[in-house]
């Protein structure tokens, strides 16, 4: 029993050290985001004399507000289209009697294995040819295309276990295929739709490479690129940049707090990084 107690204390100590290693850098970030630049240079470990909330306002005004708007707009359209088109495709593949449906499914699955980097140069040329380069569509369309294989994969396995009797009942009530899909199938599939939405949101809020190459205009940039440009734009104004880092981290933390359970489920179902 005593031995067990010592083990418990040691393990908790070990975890507390890990917790400190995780929390302290974030604490240091928030601390310095509230300082003046001279305080930061003086001693970055000290507390601010007076909390400079103005740093946050400045970070927001100097560009973050625009980047947030773009990220929210682009992620909303991407999420809506990925979820809807993904669900339609997965549903069609499950219910279709076509002999080609397995080949099509494998083709879609193949899309999961392809790294976006490999398409970068060709996409750049393609988007230019379609006159989409440097528009928000230059991000939205490739994002949807690269998230769809995952969405279809996730939702297909869900629809496979879907009781067909429900749909048959709807047909007897005179619903069309489309009405059945919208009014019966989609509402019951909410858990898997939200899992897909969460994974898509994480992807869009993180995506860097396409956003870096396909957008030139500051007014159309998303949060990751805008933030990384702060590094040069605010070369001497570090505390404002630190405030910007804090602001940009808030949406995902809130999303996690609001839907912890679904979030973990989505990650486990997805098991895909970045």
């Amino acid at each position: 029993m005593k031995k067990n107690m010592t083990a418990k204390i040691l393990i908790n100590l070990f975890f507390l050290v890990l917790v400190a290693m995780i929390i302290y850098p974030m604490f240091w970030l928030v601390l310095n985001s509230l300082k003046t630049n001279s305080e930061l240079y003086d001693n970055s470990l000290a507390f601010p004399i007076k909390a400079m909330w103005g740093n946050y306002k400045r970070a927001w005004d100097v560009g973050l507000s625009t980047y947030f708007f773009n990220s929210i707009l682009i992620s909303s359209i991407t999420i809506a289209a990925t979820v809807f088109l993904g669900a339609a495709c997965a549903y069609g593949l499950v219910r279709s009697k076509s002999k080609y449906k397995d080949i099509i499914f494998f083709m879609i699955l193949g899309g999961l294995l392809l790294s976006p980097q490999v398409a970068l140069i060709s996409l750049y040329k393609l988007l230019a040819a379609f006159h989409m380069y440097n528009t928000r569509w230059a991000l939205i369309i490739p994002y949807i295309a690269f998230r769809l294989p995952f969405a279809v994969f996730l939702m297909r396995s869900y629809f496979l276990s879907f009781p067909i009797e429900l749909e048959e009942a709807a047909y007897i009530d005179g619903y069309s295929t489309f009405q059945t899909f919208i009014k019966i199938v989609l509402p019951i599939s909410r858990p898997i739709l939200s899992a897909t939405a969460i994974m898509t949101a994480i992807f869009v809020w993180n995506e860097f490479l396409f956003a870096l190459v396909f957008i030139e205009d500051k007014a159309k940039m998303t949060v990751p690129i805008g933030l990384s440009n702060f590094k040069d734009a605010l070369a001497t104004d570090w505390t404002v940049l630190l405030a910007g880092i804090v602001i940009s981290s808030i949406p995902m933390l809130i999303l996690y707090l609001l839907m912890q359970k679904n979030f973990i489920k989505a990650l486990a179902a997805g098991s895909v990084k970045g």
């Binding site: 993904g86 879609i108 973990i264 990084k273």
Partner: protein, 291 residues
């Protein structure tokens, strides 16, 4: 209208067209581009055959990049999957008591912050003059351990790698935690009746039952290592002296800074070969694991 004879092509087509047009076509085209000398301003292409590939295998920066990707992959698998599994097993063994959920949530938080934000944060933490790391080391009397973490060629890449472990170990831990929770509790109870201690339970019950998740997390970590881009771009841009260059940043710089799109396409083909075979490996192993 009879059920089962409906036409579902309208449901399937939009997704297929998008994937075909914006995923498959560009990737196939990339193979083709790698055989040409071309730049971003004109459509003119000069056929050079496989000479880009010959050049790649003589290119020192390519080998540095590849080595950095591999180092990143190895350390990430050991730390994120290895340590992550250990942490998950300890958390699930209930030895941590009441604080279990607190530990779990705190360790997970860094993965919720975007890579860009984390990379910028660590860019400051590593700053030799005002950064947290040197300040803390000085404060606790370890002044001789202070470094210009991102500017010294010998350690810069390890500084970047360390940051990723900080960010993602908790994420992998959560995935493994979920897998452990799916193990039927009877298995643990049976092991307890047989007198197994904590370590024996971990080795003979937990690990064999989460084999598949260990494999999946290892492969996604390796694939992630070869997709590495943002961290390097934000923190070092491949410097100092290309010592932190990785395939992703080298591809980007070749294409959009040195304007050698054909050569960059050839680098992309190498990335494709590595990530694609890793994915195929994952699928095959997952299948055989189930059977």
């Amino acid at each position: 209208m009879k059920f089962g004879k409906k036409n579902y092509w309208l449901y399937i087509l939009p997704a297929i067209l998008l994937i075909g047009m914006f995923v498959y076509v560009p990737i196939l085209q990339n193979f083709y581009f790698s055989l040409f000398k071309m730049n971003s301003y004109t459509d003119e292409k000069i056929f050079v055959g496989l000479s880009h590939y010959v050049r790649i295998f003589k290119d020192d920066v390519f080998y540095t990049s590849l080595k950095n990707n591999i180092t990143y992959a190895l350390i990430s698998v050991i730390c994120q999957v290895g340590l992550g599994t250990m942490l998950a097993i300890i958390l699930e063994s209930k030895l941590t008591g009441r604080l279990r959920n607190f530990y779990r949530n705190v360790l997970f938080i860094p993965s919720l912050i975007s890579v860009t934000a984390v990379a910028l944060l660590w860019y400051f933490i590593y700053n030799p003059n005002v950064g947290m790391l040197n300040a803390v080391l000085t404060k606790i009397g370890l002044e001789n351990l202070t470094h210009a973490w991102l500017a010294e060629p010998d350690i810069a890449i390890y500084s970047v790698i360390a940051m990723s472990q900080w960010q993602y170990t908790g994420y992998i831990m959560i995935l493994i935690l979920v897998a452990i929770q799916k193990i039927p509790s009877e298995l643990f109870e049976a092991a307890e009746i047989d007198g197994a201690n904590v370590i024996q339970k971990a080795l003979f019950v937990t690990i064999p039952n989460i084999k598949e998740m260990l494999l999946v997390t290892s492969v996604i970590t390796v694939i992630g290592a070869f997709k590495l881009f943002t961290e390097i771009y934000v923190m070092t841009m491949g410097g100092p002296y290309n010592t932190t260059q990785v395939l992703g940043t080298y591809l980007y710089q070749s294409a959009f800074m040195f304007d050698e799109m054909g050569y960059a396409s050839a680098i992309a083909v190498i990335i494709f070969a590595i990530t694609f075979s890793a994915s195929i490996f994952q699928i095959r192993m997952a299948k055989s694991g189930k059977g």
